[in-house]
Symmetry: C6
Subunit: 263 residues, 6 copies
């Protein structure tokens, strides 16, 4: 019976496979203990939803700075949890939707999930789903309320549901009452300190061969402020282009970092 | 004639039975005197509506922190009062409703109740019904006004009605004029102090056998801040998963508590 | 001809009889001089509208705290004035109405009144008709403006109209410009001091026989803060239930008072 | 040709006759020099519109406290100017109108006026036409803008138009930009000092014979604060009722004044 | 070919001729050097649009106090520039228009202009086009944005366009971003000082013969505050009426000035 | 296959050619090192999108004061990048569009771009696209959210996209969360210092022959404040008109500068 349900929803899941891969173009690099701990706790929660008798629903909020890798981590969990129903609700599906159409679409996804025995829904970039902006603290209260209610709602008897939300606007979400709708809150860390930087750049270098080891060392020393792993990797691409046809130099890297508004 | 009315509305009541049970997955644990006093006063009010000649309508507001057990207590009363008409108005029925549709649906429920001799309506999570958020103090004024009027309105001659509301935003509701629509205000207490914690965890342990007595003692001593019974019980589940296949340790429990944003 | 008009509107008036009675379940208890003076002035105004040559329209605002008895007093006047056309416009008729539908319905009532020689319209709980809430000072400006204009508007030649409004939000109504639309402003007093309390409880005791005289004395001494007569009488019912099958004790009464959020 | 136009619009004017009379139930009492000066200036402006070659349009704003007699004075001018087209635009025609319908109706009136050689439009109680309230400074900006534009707009060649507006919210209208749309600003004075009061009460006494001369003297001495002539005359009616079947006493008068919220 | 285009649009221009004349009932009096300089610069800009190769579009903002003569000056330019397409967009055309209809109509006028080789569009009283009011700083942002875009937009190849805007709310327009849409900003000066006043009143006297020279001298000396030429000329009309059948006296003039709210 | 796609979209591109030329009526003058550096970095980014394996999408924000040349620079890149799909989204296309129609049109442009292998979209004058105004900080949040999502969204597999935005309201865009949607932020510099001014005026003089060298020298010395190249060139045209039929003098130039509100 379980296998059957898994069968049934496969087409839907198939569609998402592409979305999942697109969310982590550089894969997942195990760059620090903090990051590994967050990833591990997430997996425990996946198991809790699968196994616990009294916990048939759980909601987890991944919070972290821009570019820290929240979407990638959520996608990674969506991929590895291998639940029969998996859906990433992401703001780029909703350009051109009215507020009410958005709420309907989100509610529909939850209704679909309730038909499967074991489901995972990712609410990616919640502040964007809410059309949040700091100027005037505007946002869609209807969508916020729908998310709060759906994240807390118990699925029908016999069904299990894990909700993973991501946000880089934790203080707002807290104040708005959205954070309390999530049972567990996990931080996605920034890249911070020489070791983190070296781990990432060396990992990348193994495939790309365009960033000499000693330049990596110099960059790792020069980076004083923590930054998001996405921004670190993006800057590498830009630096590679600037230095083409040569290899990346520390100076070019730092120039690009400045143009990208980091450091 | 009375029995007849009871018969008539049974289908509606039957539908609610499931909702009622879902609201208290862990049942009701008699964990403190304060809690027992609140429960007892509620039962007195149930009787007042049943018996008093001049009081044919009463509205009670259960107020308490998140997870303190307001919804469970309201459901418990809904179950034990055994009124012929019982309805829980809960925000998760209303995702995707427009403001006006919500008001209509709520008004319809009251109209239905007026057709039964003895009715109980639970307005669960009033701030959520109102789509309240602290950011900009937004909420649906139309729904607020409908609730105020309906909570104060006398049922037609010969009919009796008890309204039970729950809220964790008492100060807002007070300021907004919603609290004054309820005749009686009762506090649902938090779990506070060693004895409360021990009472709850020991009660749970009798069924689950995964939390050794001495670890419970250590946890009870370590918990300094009051917290909601829902959060205490949820944390047990998470800790059980973390410690699987072993039994729950105090340390694992406290770690989970932190991940869940409590303490 | 006059008798004819009276005949014509009788059905409408008949419908209101029930509403009028429902507004004063405990009747009108003559509990203090202040209260009697207010009632007397109201009757003078009724006569002025009936008799004066130049005053064919008058509007009176009854202002007082929650539960002070404004609605009951307005209903009492509506009953005793014995005008051919009497209508109580009360917020519980309007749940589920849009703003424009409310304005239409209110305007329609005034138009109906203009067809009778002598009419009385009660605008009960004006702040509720306006959907007023202190949070953000929200209210329906359209309804406010309609009420201001209608309360000031002269009826057609030969017609006479008394408008009685009630409010517990006098400062707001003043600031909003609504109070100035009423020619006369009368205060409905709270129950204050031993004598008032004794007068009321003794009056009630004569019918109910459940509140021993010496307990009444103790309660009258213990009540330090003024409170609304509605709240005093409601608390009696709750205390009667709590003390059942015995008679009401002062202690039980004071406990109930606290649960009801008074004192 | 002129006479013809006068003929044409007579029906419309006829309809207004009743409105004009209703606006001054107590007529116009010449109670002070200030008042007479204001009235005289108004008449000069009427002549200017009738005669001046370069002034074919004029707009006058009558400003004064509540009850000072603005509407009555505007109606008096509307009556005595004997223009072929006269229209009083008053808020009680607009209950139940949407904002856009109000603007349309007002614009239509001006269009009608442009068809007559000589027209007078009264914009009575401008703040009420604008649905103004001090709470939150709400008002209809669309209606405000329409009034500003219409009050400044020149009529078609050969047509003459006098616009008379009344307001008791001058500071708001000034700040909102509405006052500047009127060429001339005239103040309607309050009743102030013994002589004013005596002039009015004695004038009234000549017809009503219910207010003994010595009581009038006492009242005139007792009134310290200035008040509107409307309120003074209304209070007389109430006092007459209170003192019935006797004549009005100074004490009864002052009591009534207090109930009416004046002094 | 040029002549042809001129022919084509003539009907449209013809319609405007009346509007243009109505905007300057007292003509244009050359009353001060400042005024003449502003007028001269405007004419230079007219020529620049006609002749310059790289400047095919120019937008000029005439700013000045109420009544300073902005609309008259814009109309004067519209008349003397003798462009084949001339259109005055003025708020009194738009009473009763919705926001969107206004934007459409304005955009349509620009589209029409783009069909002529040489066009002049006057945006008269921009703050009124925007329905601006200082109370709550309300205005139509849609219309503002349309004006900004249209004032900056280059006409199609081969077409030339001059846009002249007028405003008495320069600081608001600046802050709102509307002023920056105009390439050139010119001030229209007030009447200030004896010489200005004398120049204007003497000029008027030559035609009207109702203001004796020595009275003009006295007025010129008495006027201490600068004022708009429109207000000065309007006051003359009122004073003429007051003094009829005599000639204007300085005292009567100053009285009228006060009634009109100036000085 | 690549050539094919290029073929397919050519008509669309053709249409834009005119728009691109219209954006730089004075061409691009290489007036300072800062400007050249910004231009060069832009070209590097164009190459990165063309060549990099992991960067298939990039978004660049050009920020600078009014008239600094942002739109011209974006158009220049659009011209020289020679991508098969090029589209400038500019606010003057959207006058008369509703908010939702704007979002649809913008989203449609991105959808079109996703059909070409290599696309460039210019979001010109973002604050105008958003209908931003500083008064009340109003803007279209729906359009803002759409732009944020579209600027970050990855194109379908195999497609490459460069987004270039321009803004003169960087602080607002930053606060609103719009700036973070762009990977790279580049400043477009003002004309500052004698050398910049001389470079530009001399460059212009080579074609126009109306600005004598020694007058250019004097102007360059006199200009103390930095200003936009657009404003510098516009002022030249106005000065040329003023001085016609002579050549431009420094004094005339500075006068014009003042009339245009610069310096
Ligand atoms: N350990 C890691 N965790 C997360 N992402 C990683 C990790 N290692 C590499 N990545 C890569 O880093 C990028 C992280 O970007 P991602 O879009 O997830 O960040 P984000 O926090 O969601 O940013 P935003 O706040 O803009 O939504 C992805 O491309 C991913 O492949
Ligand atoms: N004595 C008790 N009172 C209330 N709930 C109890 C009690 N004992 C056990 N429980 C369990 O604790 C949980 C209380 O959660 P509940 O949802 O009622 O909290 P809540 O206050 O409504 O939270 P929220 O503010 O999030 O709505 C229920 O699962 C219930 O079964
Ligand atoms: N003297 C009295 N005046 C008014 N009400 C009285 C009096 N004596 C007894 N009552 C009873 O007291 C109650 C007064 O309640 P009522 O609803 O009129 O108060 P209220 O001021 O309108 O309250 P609210 O502010 O909630 O609308 C009624 O049930 C009425 O029968
Ligand atoms: N000299 C007078 N001027 C004006 N009204 C007078 C005068 N003498 C007597 N009255 C009477 O006084 C009353 C004035 O009331 P009116 O409604 O005009 O006041 P108002 O200023 O318009 O009040 P509101 O601010 O409420 O609109 C009328 O009934 C009018 O007949
Ligand atoms: N030199 C002059 N400049 C402008 N107007 C003049 C001049 N001489 C005479 N006038 C007359 O003065 C009047 C100016 O009024 P106008 O309506 O143009 O002022 P405005 O500044 O547009 O006022 P508002 O701010 O109310 O729109 C016109 O009637 C015009 O005929
Ligand atoms: N080096 C240059 N960079 C940019 N523009 C230049 C340059 N040299 C000459 N120009 C000319 O200067 C003008 C720049 O104006 P442009 O409209 O691009 O400014 P902008 O910053 O977009 O202004 P706005 O803030 O008003 O949109 C164009 O006409 C362009 O041809
Ligand atoms: Mg993300
Ligand atoms: Mg609850
Ligand atoms: Mg009441
Ligand atoms: Mg009036
Ligand atoms: Mg003007
Ligand atoms: Mg630009």
């Amino acid at each position: 019976e379980f296998e059957l349900a898994l069968e049934e929803v496969k087409p839907a899941f198939g569609v998402q496979e592409e979305t999942i891969e697109a969310a982590m173009p550089w894969g997942i690099i195990p760059f620090s203990d903090d990051f590994m701990k967050t990833k591990h706790t997430l997996l425990t929660l996946v198991n809790q939803v699968k196994n616990s008798e009294s916990t048939r629903t759980l909601s987890v909020l991944l919070e972290g700075a821009h570019g820290s890798g929240k979407s990638a981590l959520a996608a990674h969990i969506a991929k590895t949890a291998s639940f029969p129903f998996v859906k990433i609700i992401s703001p780029d599906k909703f350009v051109n939707y009215s507020e009410m159409a958005k709420v309907s679409s989100i509610a529909k996804t939850f209704d679909d999930a309730y038909k499967s025995q074991l489901s995972l829904i990712v609410l990616d970039d919640i502040e964007r789903l809410l059309e949040f902006t700091r100027v005037g603290l505007r946002f869609s209260n209807h969508i916020l309320q729908a998310l709060i209610v759906l994240a807390k709602k118990a699925p029908p008897p016999g069904r299990r549901l894990l909700v993973v939300g991501t946000t880089s606007e934790r203080p707002f979400l807290q104040e708005a009452g959205g954070a309390a709708a999530f049972n567990v809150h996990l931080s996605v860390p920034l890249v911070e300190g020489e070791d983190d930087v070296k781990a990432i750049l060396t990992h990348r270098q193994r495939e790309r061969h365009d960033f000499p080891e000693e330049q990596i060392q110099m960059v790792a020393k020069a980076l004083l402020e923590p930054l998001g792993i996405k921004h670190l990797l993006q800057t590498c691409e830009m630096a590679a282009e600037v230095c083409r046809p040569g290899t990346i130099t520390c100076d070019a890297f730092l120039d690009c970092l400045r143009d990208c508004g980091h450091q």
